[in-house]
Amino acid sequence: MLTPEQIGHLRHFDNLSRQRPNDWSLMQGKGIGQDDFGGYRFQLAYMAYALALTHAHRLPAAPGVFKGTFERLIEKMLSPEVWMYWRDTSRGGAVFNAHLVDQLKEEWDPVVRDNIMYSAYVQSMALLYHYLFDDDRYTQPGALTFAHWSFFWGGAERRFVYDENSLNEHIYWQMVENGYVGVACEPNCIFQICNQPAILGFRLHDLIHGGTRASEVTRAYEQAWQQFGRLDANGHYNMMLLQDGRTVVPNAQRMPWVDAWCGTLINMWNRDFVRAHYPRQVSELLQPGEAGALSVHVNERPETPGPRVVADSCDFGWVAAWASEMGDADTLSGLFTHADRYMAPSWRDGGLYYPRNDAELNGAGHRTIMEPLTGNVLLGYARLNVPDGLWRLYNKPWSRARFHEPALVDIDVDIDVYEATYDAKAGRLRFAIRRRADHNANGRVVVRNLGAASRWSVDGGDAVVANEHGTSSIGRGVQVSRDGADFVLHAPAGAELRTLVVEP
């Protein structure tokens, strides 16, 4: 059974997905231009990942909780506001790329060259959607199209047409051309972190379409990185590789996000390595507080020439996500104790989040800084994940048989689902729902694949749905009717949490 906090995070993800086009309320970070780690693309992608983990591990019989939210997140991911930074960033003008500034030009297509920090998220989100919901809509030609037109920039519309398969193929061949060491984010900068979502995408593509790309890439990736080392001299994950000089940039400042983000994602295909180093690495990042609270060390960004870089680091959120993947309940509990005490958990329209706060510390010296990626997404991700959640998603694929099992496939926005599992041996579907008063809809849940006749029970009281064409009250005000092969359930207004069991 999900906790109210977990329900709150799911609700917040859904609320953000329903914001009007170009309404990024609560999602704007400190940095400008979407080129830092607080960018919308990361928030959208990790909401999708959190939804995937929750569906796979906690609410497997309720695809209807997630599918619509997932679609809206992908739609937002394709909007120009999310990817237009690439036109500027593709110039590669960062200080360590000064020698390239005359070689690279602005590139409008956000996935054709480098920019794996965006392209791999589009790829993996589309493939997750296909895998989780057995819906191939993103395989259709042009289903992943990046289009932008500006009246004042002028000229023709910029339009770059891809789909789930062509994008996956394109990223794969970029990997090959780079000797499997990875694809760059900003020009010339190959981050270990940002190539992991592409690997997840390859795995999902293999599961859906057949093939062994993921195992090929991970084996070759391992070989390619052997010459550089995955960890730096201090035992922390190397941050990135400068592509042209083959120079590794270590995590010299011991920035928590580097280790935590890498560890969270690499665990999916190299669990032994990640787990072998986790205890020591995380112990160097954590800062014990009062009464069970744990925070994360604040480390200064490395000095670079020119004005100070203003960007979100999201250290706290990444360490929480990592601890959740590692199943480190003590660390996770300590971090949430700190977050709930000092980081102002807030509720809006039934959604739980931690609002942005730019103050590093409060007057008492407790860490209070909160970036939108952490506050909107990563703490929710950490609460919703299960130990080895990504590892299981990657290594323990679902059978296609699940698409024929009873499930909650369509759910009104005023319904929260706390539990939804199907016991195939017993043929029993069990779910728990609550109707909300703060969203306006009809309290409707569509249940599919139940078969012709079933015994329903609500909170222990039994009722047989005998009338297949009419509406039956099955207790506690819950109504059930048939709509073709589906059962349609209506929860009464004001209904408290109800547990329903449907058996053959």
């Binding site: 054709v112 891809y162 062509s166 090959v176 000797g179 057949g210 070759a220 070989q223 694929p397 048989a401």
Partner: protein, 186 residues
Amino acid sequence: MTDDVPIQPSFEGIDHHGRAVTDASYRGKHLLVFFGFTHCKVVCPRALARLTRVLDSLGPLANELQALYVTVDPERDTPRVMKTYLEERGPRVIGLTGTRAQIDDAKHAFRVFARRVPGASEEDYDVPHTAISYLLDPAGRYRTHFSDAIREDELLEGLRVLLHQRDFIERTPTLRIPPAHPDFST
């Protein structure tokens, strides 16, 4: 935007017998194309040894296949150097070299990674490179590829299946190669 076919395989150069060749010179046989250089210390010797064993294990099926070893280091890998090298390391393999421009074109066509890394002296450089083998069909079209990380038995089985498919399809012209089975289950 990307093409539907990831590789448009084409090349021209000089084989290790000194003959001018192109990809069209090998029509009618499957081609297994891989890139390397004769000064390679680890990857190429390992790949050639493995390939030699695989070709031996294929038996008569190996006659359906021609292996091509394309250098990424044409400055040092002359036809004579390649011939001497392959006589020892891969006697069933044909070496291909050419001008720098020809080799760069081939690398580009096959989307191959290779970069020169300075060594102790001007002559003692290294050239880390993509170590995958591309299988082209008898019409010269890209069919599939095998990574260097693949196990020997996997390469052998993969080639067996693909070469058998050709045999099977040629005998049964109404059949087509089935697509990958879209089943998620393990």
